[in-house]
Amino acid sequence: MNTLKSISIKGMFVAFLVSVSSMLLADELNLRPGVTEISRSVYDLHNLILLICVVIGVVVYGVMFISMYFHRKSRGHEAAQFDDNHTLEIAWTVIPTLILVGMFIPSYGVLKEIYNTDNAEMTVEVRGYQWKWQYKYVDEDYNNSFSFFSNLATPRAQIKNRQVKTETYLLEVDEPLRIPANRKVKFLVTAEDVIHAWWVPDFGIKRDAVPGIINELWAIVPEPGTYRGQCTELCGKDHGFMPIVVEVLPEREFDLWYQDKVAEKIALDQSTKTQTDTEFLTVSSGG
């Protein structure tokens, strides 16, 4: 019985050590650093807090395990009868308070940075629908503003296991959001029907998309590439099937693509306008 107990206590201890070391050692188990300055600061902040927690954990659990090992009846340990110690109690109220203040300050710094939406070079409106995303490029000249939907591109056969799943399973769309590298892009997030949430982990940004309300977000992505995320607010049946794909293009390439899109949109407007021109005669004014 005695050996069983000591084995079980050692087992708990080993399990704890393994979990702690795995958190620290294995990068692939940790949060991803992402590609923007913000996501890196968030990553550093995360590591800092995690480290503080692990250190506190080692101390607290360490004391606990020492006690559980030595202060057992089976080892003949007699129970002491103390039930308070004011010095200790003050210490473990004050020290955590200081640690918390130390955590709050850098967190607030990063938070303030995230809230700085100034000097954006372009604005994209992001709209959540049941169950797809719409991206609208907002231009000063409204005629140049264009938009498109971004639907899940994974075939039904893969989801129903009739086809082999590709590497980007559930994280691929028919038309991705395209933004330029190295420019500050502002996202105005809202929704058409229910609440969704727009999240690109590699940019370190997430915001709820609420119908009737707009929220601001921004990113400067230095590296061109494809970044993937998902809707993170339960929005009904196909909540798990409305991924976010952002393709970050080199600036020149983006400008060319943007011009093409604008030209395409103006051409489309022209053709529909000729059809409906007559109806414009009935313009009335109202308040």
Binding site: Y115, T117, D118, N119, A120, T123, E125, R127, K136, V138, D139, E140, D141, Y142, N144, S145, K186, L188, T190, E192, D193, V210, P211, G212, I213, I214, N215, E216, E279, F280, T282, V283, S284, S285, G286, G287
Partner: protein, 199 residues
């Protein structure tokens, strides 16, 4: 024995007090919505912007030293089938000066429909400085099939706006409220009938 009676009386008193607490909490629940609105107004939560603003020219001083960009975002929500667009996607304004921007709606369907536009301002803190002297927000608007309407928005960005707000986005979400506007629809139909009868 008497201690038992005392105890019963004590229980009755406690229950009475707790019921009062309960009634108080229920009252608090009724007050939740106004409290929340006040909370939003004070904190600029959700970019809630109020209704019309009375404009006193003499009190408003234009700040020509800086410009604020105002984005106009138009959306149709919950399957609303109108077309809805602003005259301009964005303009730059000096705080304290008054501007007018027209918005357009068109009902492409074959039935009369009632819409209502809900405004929202981002960043939320800017909402307190974005004054609309004429707007079409929260109003029910009926459009006949094929009708196009021009809706002006007159606004001032308050000169007291903090310098770190350089861009404001005003969004209108247009909802289909035909179902909740039977009276409006009825009077519209009656109007048609009267017109037909008078002809």
């Amino acid at each position: 024995m008497s201690s038992r009676l005392e105890q019963q009386a004590g229980i009755a008193r406690t229950v009475k007090k707790l019921c009062l607490v309960l009634v108080g909490m229920v009252g608090f629940v009724f007050a939740l919505v106004p409290i929340y609105d006040l909370f939003c107004e004070v904190t600029g939560l959700n970019g809630k912007t109020g209704g019309q603003y009375t404009y006193v020219e003499s009190e408003m001083e234009a700040d020509l030293s800086r410009e604020v960009r105002v984005n106009f975002i138009t959306n149709t929500n919950q399957g609303m089938n109108w077309e809805f667009w602003p005259e301009k996607g964005a303009i730059k304004v000096n705080p304290g000066t008054i501007h007018t921007v027209n918005f357009f709606v068109r009902n492409p369907s074959s039935i009369p429909t009632v819409g209502r536009a809900i405004p929202s301002v981002a960043p939320g803190l800017a909402a307190g400085y974005f004054h609309k002297t004429e707007c079409f927000c929260f109003e029910q608007q009926l459009l006949a099939p094929g009708e196009v309407m021009e809706m002006p928005l007159r606004f001032i960005v308050g000169p007291e706006i903090p310098g770190d707000i350089k861009e404001i986005s005003l969004s209108y979400a247009l909802f289909d409220v035909t179902e909740d506007s039977t009276e409006l629809i009825e009077s519209f139909k009656n109007g048609l009938n009267v017109a037909a009868a008078g002809r």
